[in-house]
């Protein structure tokens, strides 16, 4: 496992005009291949008898196109285009020797595929590398801003709603954090409160096994609606085994983790408990939501 990093958390800005153009190109080509396979085949210099193959290639194009345009992280789908280009080149190479081939046209098609392969590779590389992981989330809690701020500011309260945390110990404006990791392991880091404005903002920076920094903003919601909490954080995923561990802990979508934490925070602040069901006995958790147990009571050894 090496340091393959996510591009920054908000996928939209990693998908620039080039990626979108490639996506639309795939959709257009795929549609033509499915709707008029014979015409496309004749255009690239063949006799128009390979309709089934042409339609299959069209389906592949459409899948890549939809993936690039619809997914927040287009990299895998761009790589699918690269693989598709390689496959097309191989097929065209064979077609060049076929009896029904008009060689000039086939050569033209080969040149066209090779041409589009360049932006495909560049764009795939660009979207696959770069940046640290960023995520944000927000929620409104029906409690006064002072109450909400004070509860959060007492960092030892955080494990009551951040399920990964085991403990947070404060020493002045520094704190020591311990988190549970898969396989009974723990991950630890030290954090420093670099800015603190009561009832407004907390900003921390952490060093150690997982360098991270983040901000929690507290804002009075309009019309007595309580307090808005806005969290944003960024972390540098560590390399190697630890990186894999961290990836497992925070999942593919750190954004969802933050939302889960905030939902539990709201529950604790408003109801005094973390809400649990038979299907989700640990309370709100994205991972658990995907792997539900049946909605019936658990066998309790008591």
């Amino acid at each position: 496992m090496d340091t393959r990093k996510h591009a920054n958390g908000h996928g939209e800005n990693q998908k620039d005009a080039v990626a979108r153009a490639l996506g639309w190109f795939s959709l257009g080509l795929g549609t033509a291949q499915i709707a008029a396979p014979g015409t496309v085949e004749r255009l690239i210099g063949l006799s128009g008898e390979r309709r089934a193959l042409m339609r299959a290639l069209g389906a592949r194009e459409i899948a890549s196109g939809v993936g690039i345009l619809a997914q927040r992280k287009p990299a895998p789908w761009l790589w699918a285009r690269v693989a598709g280009d390689a496959m097309d080149l191989a097929l065209l190479g064979r077609a060049f020797k076929a009896a029904d081939a008009r060689k000039a046209r086939v050569a033209g098609a080969i040149a066209a595929v090779a041409g589009v392969m360049i932006p495909d590779v560049l764009e795939s590389l660009r979207t696959t590398t770069s940046g640290q992981i960023e995520a944000k989330g927000s929620i409104t809690v029906r409690r006064p801003v002072e109450t909400v701020y004070d509860f959060w500011r007492d960092l030892s309260n955080l494990p009551s709603f951040m399920i990964h945390l085991e403990s947070v110990q404060e020493r002045g404006n520094r704190s020591h954090w311990r988190a549970k990791a898969p396989g009974g392991r723990t991950v630890e880091w030290d954090a420093e409160l670099v800015a603190e404005r009561p009832n407004e903002l907390l900003h921390w920076r952490a060093t150690g096994q997982i360098p991270n920094q983040g901000t929690v903003r507290f804002r009075e919601a309009p019309g007595n609606r309580g307090t808005e909490i806005h969290v944003s954080l960024a972390y540098e995923p560590p390399a190697g085994e630890l990186g894999a561990l961290v990836a497992k802990m925070f999942g593919e979508e750190p954004q969802i983790q933050i939302k889960d934490d905030l939902r539990r925070f709201k529950q604790v602040m408003e109801t005094g408990e973390v809400v649990m069901s038979e299907g989700s006995p640990a309370g709100v958790s994205a991972k658990q939501q995907l792997r539900q147990r049946p909605a019936q009571p658990m066998e309790v050894a008591s």
């Binding site: 109801t271 649990m276 299907g279 049946p294 066998e299």
Partner: protein, 390 residues
């Protein structure tokens, strides 16, 4: 304990499962004396609601005796007789404070699932898929009731189970359906569906001052029940142009308000139209068969209200948005905010304004619940409402 579990499409069975335990301080355990099969349970039975797991205990209409309470429940005591509302509500969030209990922001631990499907999460509901929290339901001998200090209604009067059981869902749901019509003197209200919720919607429309109520269905025994108990006029939609007929019955105005008490699995008597939506639903190209809703919108007088209490799950095709917009129709809807209605409706029962037990046609033991589902689903034996006695 014994509990009715969902085992897959069209398959439920009574299984031995562990007894529920107190998990949170605000929980209570209720020993169930009566529980009912709801029309919306049939959407689960038929496999139209996603996120069901094999082994899920069904049931969201139940009542019984409190046998255990968590340390933070102060308003209930062991031995209390209670009716439990089907939505789970914390009582503390902004929506609960506004009495929109079925929009509770805290009661669904699977909020993320609902958010993906609906844009915002749903509240927790007993025994109603994992989208609404994955809570074990009440078609069982016992149930754990979260936020027991907010939901359960204590019954101290000498009323039978069948007189108060339906305060858990269908009576308040029908009542809210009528209330959303904002009934004015002289109003004619049309109700699609003469199932249990339609029966209560019709009766409630009269309680709220409607001049006339017209109930639309195709089963004679259900229409008869609406006529006898609520005093409603009836319309058999088979072989009838419902919209024309409603105009005929209202001097061309159309009903002032329409209540859809049918929901996602409607039937249509024109074979081709029924087949169109049936096929699209089977292929998952749409999730609903919205005949009743389409008809209610088209039939409603201009500037009137369409109140939707029938359950929908996803996406609707051929929605008459043009009719809705150009004729200034108001749509009001929602899962019922049961907590809001339980006490006032209990008072109406106590004053003898209505006896909700009129809908009960079948009484079965819990062990016979699978037969109850089949009978109810296929409307055999003039079935309207099945009550189970665990």
């Amino acid at each position: 304990m014994r509990a009715l579990c969902w085992e897959g499409r069209n398959k439920v069975s009574v299984e031995n499962v562990p007894d529920p335990k107190i998990i949170n301080g605000r929980d209570a355990i209720v020993r169930i004396s009566s529980t009912a099969i709801c029309g919306s349970d049939l959407h689960l039975y038929d496999g139209y609601i996603p996120t069901m797991e094999r082994g899920d205990i069904l049931g969201h209409e139940f009542m019984g005796e409190v046998v255990e309470i968590g340390p933070d429940v102060e308003n209930l005591a062991v031995g209390d007789r209670v009716v439990v509302p089907f939505p789970i509500a914390c009582g503390a969030c902004a929506q609960c404070q506004a009495e929109n209990y079925s929009l509770c922001e805290n009661s669904n631990p699977n909020a993320g699932l609902g958010e993906k499907m609906y844009g915002h999460p749903l509240c927790g509901i007993f025994g109603y898929s994992h989208l609404t929290g994955g809570y074990a339901g009440g078609q069982a001998e016992y149930a754990r009731v979260p936020f027991a200090d907010v939901g359960p209604l204590k019954i101290e009067e000498d009323l039978t189970d069948e007189q108060v059981l339906f305060l858990s869902d269908i009576f308040p749901t029908g009542f809210m359906g009528a209330e959303m019509c904002n009934i004015q003197p002289g109003d004619v209200i049309a109700v699609w569906g003469a199932g249990p919720v339609g029966q209560f919607a019709a009766a409630s429309a009269f309680l709220l001052g409607a001049e006339r109520v017209i109930v639309i269905d195709r089963f004679d025994y259900r229409l008869r029940m609406a006529a006898q108990n609520a005093g409603a006029e009836t319309l058999d939609y088979e072989g009838t142009d419902v919209i024309e007929e409603l105009k005929e019955m209202t001097g061309g105005r159309g009903p002032d308000a329409c209540i859809d008490a049918v929901g996602m699995e409607a039937h249509h008597d024109v074979g081709a139209i029924y087949a169109y939506d049936r096929v699209k639903q089977a292929l998952r190209m749409e999730t609903e068969r919205p005949f009743a809703l389409r008809e209610a919108i088209m039939a409603c007088k201009s500037g009137g209200t369409v109140s939707v209490v029938g359950v929908y799950g996803g996406f609707v095709d051929k929605f008459p948005m043009g009719s809705l917009m150009n004729r200034a129709i108001t749509i009001r809807t929602g899962q019922c905010h049961v907590h809001r209605y339980m006490r006032p409706l209990l008072d109406r029962v106590r004053r003898g304004e209505i006896d909700p037990s009129f809908v009960v046609t079948h009484r079965l033991s819990l062990d016979d619940a699978p037969d109850g589902y089949e009978t109810f689903k296929h409307k055999q034996d003039e079935c309207v409402k099945v009550v189970l006695k665990p």
